[in-house]
């Protein structure tokens, strides 16, 4: 055993990850909002208090353990309760100390922190709506009319150890949330399927996104930068792959970004007005499928038996999507994609995808994985059905 033990340790050490990004962090990451700063302060204070209690209480116990031993010839005492007035006084001390710590020393700062945390509305400069869906976030700027989906950008190859992991492995997205610094942002949260939790540690903000209800939190980011977090509530198989990335930029830069987004969205909306070629739709559909659908229905549309139905050869996909009058066929292909299937992970994608994206992906699915429907759905048709 004595020989094997260090060998085993050496083998384990060799197998350990040696990464430049790995770091031994002992406390919260650097706070960038007043809320996070306050939380860090409260946390540090309380930890110090807890540590002090721990040290004092167990120093007394340790003293007793080392002194009051049979091997030191101790004759055991026989007391079972405080007997003198002085002893009664001393026995109440721990009780009083804890009451003081709980309700004064910790209780008062905690009260103020909670009130600050819950005050999402006063002096709010802008609103962002965050919608969690299995397994991505949708961000919406109601005042600007901007809406987009933000999904994991790390490749499956990296996750499967078939490619080198990037610096921001699992904490990178295709479209980060962009927010101006110095503004109080009221963040409204909801979900389209199960409960998710939106969390950016450096903001000190964590709140559940609950289907059918609106919850809120807030952030006033004080330093420009990129801040990363994750979904914190178990939400199914993609729970670990649902990062939150926020880019905080100066106000002028933010205005510029807003203008650009509006332009892009206008171009996209215009796309619904014209007739798309089949190749265009297929190309658009392939992109959307890879980003949105493949996580469940798999890359080749084969699904996961028992959990997620296959699209290859599926009755729904190979059935009619629209009737002769251009109306939705109930429980048909387009209906499923637009309105989802209640009680399953199949969500209503009309909430998160644009007309051309829906038209593209439906066309793509009907003409891929061995499905040969030969038809196409136009963005204008989708738009008419909203």
């Amino acid at each position: 055993m004595s020989v094997k033990f260090p060998l085993l340790l050496a083998a384990l050490a060799a197998a350990a990850p040696h990464s430049a990004r790995a770091e031994w962090a002992w406390n919260f990451p650097a706070p960038v909002t007043p809320l996070a700063l306050d939380t860090l302060h409260v946390h540090n204070t309380f930890m110090a208090i807890a540590l002090a209690i721990f040290v004092v209480v167990f120093a007394i116990m340790l003293y007793s353990i080392f002194t009051h031993r049979k091997s030191r010839g101790m004759e055991p005492a026989t007391f079972t309760r405080p007997s003198t007035a002085a002893q009664v006084f001393w026995t109440t001390i721990p009780f009083l100390v804890f009451a003081f710590i709980d309700f004064i020393l910790m209780g008062i700062p905690a009260y103020h922190s909670v009130v600050v945390m819950e005050d999402t509305r006063s002096d709010a400069d802008m609103v962002v709506k965050v919608t969690g869906s299995q397994w991505k976030w949708q961000y919406e700027y109601p005042e600007e009319g901007i809406r987009f989906v933000s999904a994991l950008a790390t490749t499956p190859e990296q996750i499967a150890d078939r490619a080198a992991k990037g610096e921001h492995y699992l904490l990178e997205v295709d479209h980060p949330l962009v927010l101006p610094v110095g503004k109080k942002v009221r963040i409204l949260l909801t979900s389209t399927d199960v409960i998710h939790t939106w969390w950016v540690p450096q903001f000190g903000a964590k709140r559940d996104a609950i289907p059918g209800f609106i919850r809120e939190t807030w952030a006033r980011i004080e330093r420009p930068g990129t801040y990363r977090g994750q979904c914190a509530e178990l939400c199914g198989k993609g729970h670990g792959f649902m990062p939150v990335v926020v880019q905080a930029v100066a106000e002028p830069e933010y205005r510029l970004w807003v203008a650009r987004q509006k332009g892009e969205q206008a171009a996209q909306a215009a796309g619904a007005e014209r007739v798309w070629s089949r190749d265009e739709l297929m190309k658009q559909g392939e992109t959307v499928y890879g980003k949105v659908c493949a996580v469940c229905h798999q890359a080749q549309g084969q699904g996961i038996p028992g959990a997620f139905p296959a699209l290859a050869g599926s009755k729904v996909v190979n059935g009619p999507a629209l009737d002769r009058q251009g109306r939705l066929v109930k429980d048909g292909h387009l209906d499923r994609v637009m309105n989802g299937k209640p009680g399953t992970a199949m969500q209503a994608f009309k909430a998160t995808l644009s007309d051309s994206e829906i038209a593209g992906v439906v066309t793509y699915e009907r003409n891929s994985f061995g499905n040969k429907m030969g038809d196409a759905v136009q963005p204008a048709q989708v738009k008419a059905l909203r």
Partner: protein, 530 residues
């Protein structure tokens, strides 16, 4: 009873041999043994699951399993450890020791007792079977929502969820029946002269546990039944689309879930003073204070559940209420800690395995308790919640406070139950390896949580790699150390130096007046108290 009747009775009481004895037994010692053996087996099943999880988390990337299986393993690990390892262990000790401690001939309701136990193996089968079925292509595996079963994820989940719901029903029925039995036994079968305020603290702890179980298990049963009807019969209790509320499930679950912590810990806190007193050779300090503290914690336990759902959007007033009421639990807990240390004070201590585990439990549970105090702060909780900080915290309470406490009890009573002394050397190794490996496993998890690692993720960002590696190594050692316990228990059952009536010099109580192992029937004539 005349001599003739007694002889007849004893002839009648000869148990059947072989497996029929165990299936039909109504003897509290047999049933206690079955509970303990079942618990030990499930402890290793649950442990094996989490070692698979820790192996997956050994380094970044997915190497061993798909996220679906990962989600199933973490949830079933928790259900197995809580419902099938910790609770049955405590019930096993109760069955064995409470009648001996209070001078009762058996449990008050022996047939119910048999049934309470025999519901457990079917429950375990139901919970675990979906893993096996999935291997044969039936279903998608066991329940994949974590042990908290939050709706709507649990409405969406596969058939493993239905198996889990019925497993929970069986476990719940078993617990409630076991609890009723313990309440009735303690209230009715005490030896003459043993008033409630002379009841051994272990029995007091269990009495409170039993009351809490009877109070909260039906709420859990109701919640999972509502889940079942939401899944299959078109109700909308937890669906906002039909006027329901997903958060309702969380309220119901934690109304059960928070008292559950004390349900697991009270039996341990009950026998901890027995052990401290035995090895300090000094009477228990503050008996009354400890009983009152149990009562206060028991009452507080059912009004603080909201601190488990502080990020779900409780009102400001709700947050403040749950924060202060949770902090208030530290007051009666400080009384218990004070009494434990005062029991040691100026004693003549020796440090056999039960004492080591009891002291280790007190120190490490102290970490769990103090981090719990910090977690109670609703603002800081927003950072800790759903993170590895919480995972570390509840393992300091439930592994250190629960399992290490159970180990203390096991070593304390093994000589009484088997009639043999266990190997002290092996037990000392077991303790020190467990204590070191436990901290190696869970201390890094506090830092992971603070750095921002959410719980229940199968893969993680690179900055979390180092601490996860340490934690996994610790977990493998922790698991391996428990094999020493298994070896020691098996050896102790099979033989060893005779224990004598009272193997521990300072032990007090009726159970130590009996031979070791005690005869099949004890206290058929009632002992007379002082």
């Amino acid at each position: 009873m005349t001599t003739g009747e007694l002889a007849l009775h004893q002839a009648h009481a000869v148990p059947p041999r072989g497996w029929l004895r165990w299936l039909t037994t109504t003897n509290h010692k047999d049933i206690g043994t079955m509970y303990l053996v079942f618990s030990l087996a499930m402890f290793f099943v649950g442990g094996l699951m989490i070692l698979l999880v820790r192996a997956e988390l050994f380094r970044p990337g997915l190497q061993l399993m798909e996220p679906e299986l990962f989600n199933q393993l973490i949830g079933v690990h928790a259900l197995v450890m809580i419902f099938m390892a910790l609770m049955p262990a405590a019930t096993g000790f109760a069955n064995w020791m409470i009648p001996l401690m209070i001078g009762a001939p058996d449990m008050a309701l022996p047939r119910l007792n048999n049934w309470s136990f025999w519901l457990l193996p079917p429950a375990a089968t139901l919970l675990l079977m979906p893993f096996v079925l999935a291997l044969f292509g039936v279903g998608t595996g066991a329940v994949g929502t974590g042990w908290t079963l939050y709706a709507p994820l649990s409405v969406q989940d596969g058939m493993g969820m239905d198996f889990a719901i019925f497993a929970i029903h069986l476990l719940g029925i078993s617990s409630v029946m076991g609890s009723i039995n313990i309440i009735v036994t303690i209230l009715n079968l005490r030896a003459p002269g043993m008033t409630l305020m002379k009841l051994p603290l272990f029995a007091w702890g269990w009495l409170l546990t039993a009351f809490m179980l009877v109070a909260v298990i039906p709420v859990l049963a109701g919640a999972v039944t509502m889940l079942l009807t939401d899944r299959h019969f078109g109700t909308h209790f937890f669906n906002a689309g039909g006027g329901g509320d997903p958060i309702l499930f969380q309220h119901l679950f934690w109304f059960f879930g928070h008292p559950e912590v004390y349900i697991v810990l009270f039996p341990v806190w009950g026998f901890t003073p027995h052990i401290l007193s035995a090895f300090a050779r000094k009477p228990v300090y503050g008996y009354r204070a400890q009983v009152y503290a149990f009562w206060v914690i028991g009452v507080l336990s059912v009004i603080v559940w909201g601190h488990h759902i502080m990020t779900s959007g409780l009102s400001t007033a709700g947050l403040l209420y749950f924060m202060y009421s949770t902090m208030a639990i530290s007051l009666p807990l400080s009384v218990l800690f004070f009494c434990w240390i005062a029991t040691l004070w100026r004693g003549a201590m020796t440090f056999e395995a039960p004492m080591l585990f009891a002291l280790g439990m007190i120190v490490l549970f102290g970490v769990g308790g103090l981090t719990g105090l910090v977690l109670a702060d609703a603002a800081a909780d927003a950072q800790y919640h759903h993170s590895y900080f919480v995972v570390a915290h509840f393992h300091y309470t439930l592994f250190a406070g629960g399992i290490m406490g159970i180990m203390a009890g096991a070593y304390f009573w093994l000589p009484k139950m088997t009639g043999h002394l266990y190997s002290e050397k092996l037990a000392q190794w077991h303790f020190w390896l467990t204590a070191v490996a436990f901290n190696l496993t869970f201390l890094p998890q506090f830092f992971l949580g603070l750095a921002g690692m959410p719980r229940r993720i199968p893969d993680y960002a690179l900055q979390f790699a180092d601490f996860n590696w340490v934690s996994s190594v610790g977990a493998f050692f922790l698991g391996a150390a428990q094999l020493l316990f298994l070896v020691n228990v098996v050896k102790c059952i099979r033989g060893g130096p005779p224990a004598g009536d009272k193997p521990w010099e300072g032990a007090q109580g009726l159970e130590w007046t009996l031979p070791s192992p005690p005869p099949r029937h004890t206290f058929q004539t009632r002992p007379v108290g002082e």
